[in-house]
């Protein structure tokens, strides 16, 4: 097998597994569009990076953190729901980015680069880098799991029981941002956002516990990566979209299974 396929499978599986782990919380907390929001506002980072001449990456990381912090601050006061907040941040970030870009007099900014990425062109360096980030994410999640779950079930009850809601929320938002920012550059925002929510939603039909749901989500994600890349190999379709589409198929199958089981 070609080496690039192996790299793609490894990188894809790693991202999918960790996305499953974080994705269940993203779904429970109704933050489905968090990834989209980050990738949209990454454009602002790109523009700022160019304007200030500090390079892409610094700008992207800065804008991602900024979005995370604003989200965290607004979540504390509950007049705006999570999804609307994400929508507002996504669109204001994107539009501000476009405005800033219009002052950067260059032709070579690629707005869509962030969206599509390319899992097939992952390098071994990327794989290492992803693996390291993901080890970090998984490690923090192991520690965060219980308080985060308690918080997700009911925030007030959790706070009374001694969970530091502010800290836990902040760390969680930071982890998702880290995952998205890392994976976005490698596999594209489309793929990472989809892997956050689609496997998690599919897993809901089979899971009886939160841990099961996370595990199933990870498995479904990894399976999607394998199916998608294999399809891409056999049918010569673009890899990223094929992965997303196979996870979507798994989701729809899970829903049909559930309906049949109920009847």
């Amino acid at each position: 097998m070609d080496e690039f396929i192996i790299r793609a499978m490894i990188a894809g599986s790693l991202v999918a597994a960790v996305a499953g782990l974080l994705g269940v919380f993203v779904v429970w907390r109704r933050m489905a569009f968090f990834g989209d929001t980050l990738s949209h506002s990454a454009l602002l980072g790109v523009a700022i990076g160019m304007l200030l001449n500090i390079g892409f990456m610094v700008g992207v990381v800065a804008s991602t953190l900024l979005v995370g912090i604003i989200l965290f601050l607004f979540q504390r006061q509950q007049r705006v729901s999570n999804d609307a907040l994400l929508g507002i941040l996504a669109h204001s970030g994107l539009s501000l980015g476009l405005i800033a870009l219009s002052f950067v007099q260059t032709q070579n900014v690629n707005v869509e680069e962030w969206l599509f990425g390319d899992v097939l062109s992952v390098t071994w360096d990327d794989v290492t880098w992803i693996a390291l980030t993901l080890v970090l994410v998984v490690g923090v999640m192991a520690w965060l799991w219980r308080p985060l779950l308690t918080l997700t079930v009911d925030e007030e009850l959790a706070r009374v029981e001694g969970v530091n809601a502010g800290l836990v929320n902040l760390v969680f938002v930071g982890l998702v941002a880290l995952l998205v920012a890392t994976a976005m550059q490698v596999v594209g925002a489309l793929l990472i956002t989809a892997l956050l929510i689609i496997p998690a939603s599919a897993a809901r039909s089979f899971a009886k516990t939160p841990e099961q749901m996370a595990l199933f989500a990870a498995v479904i994600g990894v399976v999607s990566v394998f199916i998608g890349i294999t399809a891409s190999l056999l049918l010569d379709t673009p890899a990223g979209p094929s992965i997303v589409f196979s996870s979507a198929m798994l989701f729809f199958m899970s829903q049909i299974t559930r309906v049949l089981k109920a009847a």
């Binding site: 690039f4 032709q107 070579n108 690629n110 680069e113 599509f116 062109s121 071994w124 990327d126």
Partner: protein, 308 residues
């Protein structure tokens, strides 16, 4: 014995490569004509093509942005980045047409350069032109094309010395043909040399610069961004004030903006494809691209406007 495989990224390069190689080599164009070089995801078959290729020819990692990643795992030996060709005229994308900056690459500079460095280095005596500020539609200058052809010829000979003579004569034919076309175009363009025209997206400055045409400020510099209300207003002002006769746009590109720009103003519009995708691939494809560009311009600038 298999023929060597040469992959070029976009149509204009492919045109030059085909002219040089004839039938001695298998050639492939990587990015399909329908796709944009800025946004393309490679399919597995295309990555295999890249891996299999003996030579991969591209403009610059700032043009074929999506390629940068795949190139990293590629053998650098077989990668040709045309923007680094010695002696090439490079123009700034952020420019004023009356006093554009030029920058040339010299020997030292691109020896230091490795393909995945973000910045190109230039000697102190040249004005610094940052990579992301460079306009990479560089193939539309015939003199650049000649240098590029020579460079490609050398690289091909390096991998396939057995057909050296054939490559050399093919290249000479191409260069001759380019200079002939060049001369013809200078004559064709003579009557319209001073006539002002506007472009919707600045893909032609290499062409207009080479022939000394009177291209006014482009309306929008960025392919992806919409012009502001102020810019549109100003452009409409410019059209009437400077008596602009023609507005040039890329194929199927921002037609609605064009409509707003030209409504109730007497001005011609024309579509030109800087990639020459509708020109049939042949030994003459590159000169034909130049010729086509010139004819479209002349047509647009000399025709009496059809509008009321």
């Amino acid at each position: 014995e298999e023929k060597p495989l040469i992959v070029s990224t976009i149509r204009p390069i492919q045109a030059i490569v085909v002219a040089i190689t004839g039938d001695n080599v298998e050639t492939k164009q990587l990015i399909p004509d329908f796709a944009s070089p800025h946004q393309y995801s490679l399919k597995p078959s295309e990555i295999r093509l890249l891996n299999k290729a003996d030579l991969v020819i591209r403009i610059d990692d700032h043009l074929e942005t999506f390629l940068e990643k795949s190139m990293r795992s590629l053998d650098l030996e077989k990668l040709v980045t045309l923007s680094t060709v010695k002696g090439l005229t490079l123009l700034s994308a952020n420019h004023d047409h009356n006093d554009h900056e030029e920058a040339e690459h010299d020997e030292d500079a691109h020896e230091k350069e490795s393909s995945h460095e973000d910045e190109h280095h230039h000697d102190e005596d040249h004005e610094q032109l940052k990579a992301e500020d460079t306009d990479y539609h560089l193939w539309l200058s015939p003199s650049n094309a000649v240098l590029i052809a020579a460079n490609i010829r050398d690289r091909i000979i390096a991998i396939d010395p057995s057909n050296k003579e054939s490559y050399e004569s093919n290249t000479q034919q191409l260069i001759d043909s380019i200079s002939e076309t060049d001369k013809a175009i200078i004559e064709t363009l003579a009557p319209i040399k001073e006539m002002p025209f506007l472009v919707m997206h600045d893909a032609w400055q290499y062409f207009t610069n080479h022939y000394g045409l009177n291209q006014l400020d482009s309306i929008t510099l960025q392919e992806r961004l919409k012009p502001s209300a102020k810019a549109l207003s100003k452009a409409r002002q410019t059209i009437t004030d400077s008596n602009v006769r023609c507005i040039v746009t890329e194929l199927g590109f921002k037609l609605k903006t064009l409509r707003v720009l030209t409504e109730d103003i007497d001005v011609n519009t024309t579509e030109i494809d800087p990639m020459g995708r509708q020109i049939k691939l042949s030994k003459q494809a590159y000169p034909a691209l130049l010729d086509y560009t010139a004819k479209q311009l002349v047509e647009c600038l000399t025709h009496t406007t059809t509008k009321k």
